[in-house]
Symmetry: C2
Subunit: 383 residues, 2 copies
């Protein structure tokens, strides 16, 4: 399934030796056409990794024939040599596949500040190319894992066409976009501008609203490739919704696999004056370390929700705020509401609703709790 669920794509995932532990670390996704349309969304971080800078150029060229992805090294903050390495990776794939290098996107993930072992990566591209298969999507998804405990794939099959995809990401997850690499594929027959519109609309309300730890990566990339192999051109709305569903599903999988997390937290802001207000408030709540600790301890500490709301510029009156945790309105009109002992927080998913009583707009941000395991995983070794 994964990136090979749609017709017109082959993929492979191999162990090239980039990771010292010998785990799979190189994936190759190839669009066999007939069309090679594509769209991409990249990290908003101003410190961008070399493969991001390269792939942005590739997207401008108008078509994407292949994507090379490696784990085991982010190739970020690696200077001119890092950019040359990203370029050389594309050149190698282009040579093996008989395409132009400017049609080959490159994605990397891993530790920042290390040059990639090109003596292993380039032969790895050849090995991966030799193993390309219409059933290779699963292996590709496995090869891009870093601290992920599971690989993530998703497929929406429609009438005669399909959108599928794979994602990696477990830490440094924050909007614009989460530390993650995502490749989506479709066999629908669509132009670049339609792909771009649908992809931006989808990521804006899915990946951009997944905020595990407030830390924005240097390498985030989401690519959408269209082969046209199904020979079907769906209507925009139907296609955009399918892309959104796959993005939403992959985003949820990222949160569920967030480093050290024991709770998945859905922060829903309602009755905001504007959608921007709702997103700002949702993000402020989702990034509040004290609240994330409280939820870890199964403590419905709504005071920490209010103190997070209070740091924003959103329209609200403090004495009209309401907060529900798992369905119990523990804060009403800015003060004590229903009995907090009624809140049952034993389950993994926790639902926080913040009612701003200032309008009718809404937004949902997903995050997770802050745990000792998160601290351990991010302090015990470099990642």
């Amino acid at each position: 399934m994964s990136v090979t669920a749609a017709q017109g794509f082959t993929a492979a995932g191999i162990a090239a030796g980039i990771k010292e532990n010998g785990n799979p670390d190189l994936a190759l996704v190839v669009n066999t056409g007939p069309r090679r349309a594509a769209a991409g969304v990249f990290t908003a971080n101003r410190v961008k990794a070399a493969p991001v800078l390269w792939s942005e150029q590739v997207l401008k060229s108008g078509q994407v024939s292949a994507v090379v992805l490696n784990s085991g090294g982010a190739n970020a903050c690696t200077g001119p040599k890092g950019f040359q390495d990203a370029h050389a990776t594309a050149e190698k794939a282009a040579e093996v596949l008989g395409r132009g290098a400017i049609e080959v996107a490159v994605c990397s993930t891993g530790l920042i500040g290390l040059l990639l072992p090109m003596d292993k990566l380039l032969p790895g591209v050849e090995t991966a190319a030799a193993q390309l298969s219409e059933h290779g999507g699963e292996k590709a998804a496995i090869a891009i894992k870093t601290t992920d405990t599971v690989h993530k794939t998703s497929v929406v099959a429609k009438d005669g066409w399909t959108v599928g995809g794979m994602a990696k990401g477990a830490g440094m997850l924050a909007p614009g976009l989460a530390t993650m690499l995502v490749v989506l594929t479709t066999d629908a027959d669509l132009e670049n501008d339609v792909l771009d519109k649908a992809l931006r609309a989808a990521t804006r309300t899915t990946f951009d609203r997944v905020d595990s730890d407030g830390c924005m990566s240097t390498n985030d990339t989401v690519l959408l490739l269209a082969s046209g192999a199904a020979g079907v051109t769906p209507g925009y709305e139907e296609f955009a919704e399918a892309v959104r569903q796959v993005c939403d599903d992959l985003g949820q999988q990222l949160i569920r696999d967030a480093e050290g997390a024991s709770k998945d937290i859905k922060v829903e802001v309602i009755n905001a004056a504007t959608e921007d207000d709702a997103v700002e408030v949702g993000r402020s709540i989702a990034r509040n370390n004290l609240l994330k600790c409280a939820i870890h301890g199964e403590d419905p500490n709504w005071g920490r929700v209010l103190s997070a709301i209070g740091t924003t510029r959103a329209a609200f009156e403090p004495d009209r705020l309401n907060v529900a945790i798992n369905g119990v309105w523990v804060c009403k009109n800015g003060g004590v509401g229903e009995d907090r002992d009624k809140v049952d927080m034993r389950y993994r998913e926790v639902h926080v609703v913040a009612d701003l009583a200032a309008g009718s707009e809404t937004a949902t941000i997903w995050t997770n709790d802050l745990t000792a395991d998160y601290v351990h995983e991010n302090s015990a070794y470099s990642s």
Copy 2:
């Protein structure tokens, strides 16, 4: 010492029974004059606790005769009843001291969303008033502790006049201001406007640049009271510097006692285009959970510094950024610099320098590492 180091002040700290464990929980600080000038700075959180709303009114009245402070409950998000309670506390102190209620500031700290036990607090005010002493500063500082492991006091004695103070704060420490209550006193003979100018100048570069966990409180208050008892009017610059020194010292004590911390981190941003840029970058670095975990693990992970810088709007070019950790320039020109193995991180203080190479402005933000103990302390019980 503490708030009674300056002449013209008495103080007391007692156990009124607000805290269930019987620890001291009520402090009273009285300005015995002859002057009762004052200035105050309050939390920038838009969700303000009742005592903050009350004390803001008191400061507008022009003079402050006394401050009642309690731990064991924040009286935040407590609605009209909470405000009435803050007012009743001031009324009681005014009655006992023979002053007007509008001259009595009130500060509270503890759990948000609980009404204070007024049946214990009001008799406590009488008890504290009976114990007022020119040597009571230490006891007052002890009575305002919550999760603080030590009480915090500071004194700067100048030629014929003194500035002293006390502070509490250990968590929910973030700019504008940290979760903290601070009372500063001086026997210098100064007008309100001079006190206000000196206090705002001091807090802007001290408490406002202490950021333990990015969480802004509903109760932060810093008060500066002047008795004029020394009969000396120092020059503005000398006075402002003394206030700054006391604020800086107390701010450092807050960071050193931050919940669960094992490292104190000095984030120094240099060569910024503007001071605002330097502060924004410093705060972004100081709030990066991944970096804070890395420093906990004694890992000089400069990539996380760059990814934090990249999320700001500050002026910089990615390939001109330099980062030093404990004196070793581990990142030069946006890439790998000196050998990271040279970085010695065994000691409690860690010094991160981020060189933006974009100007000549600088700012320093203090924070601490993120530890499993922080998670435990903020998840195991409500605070």
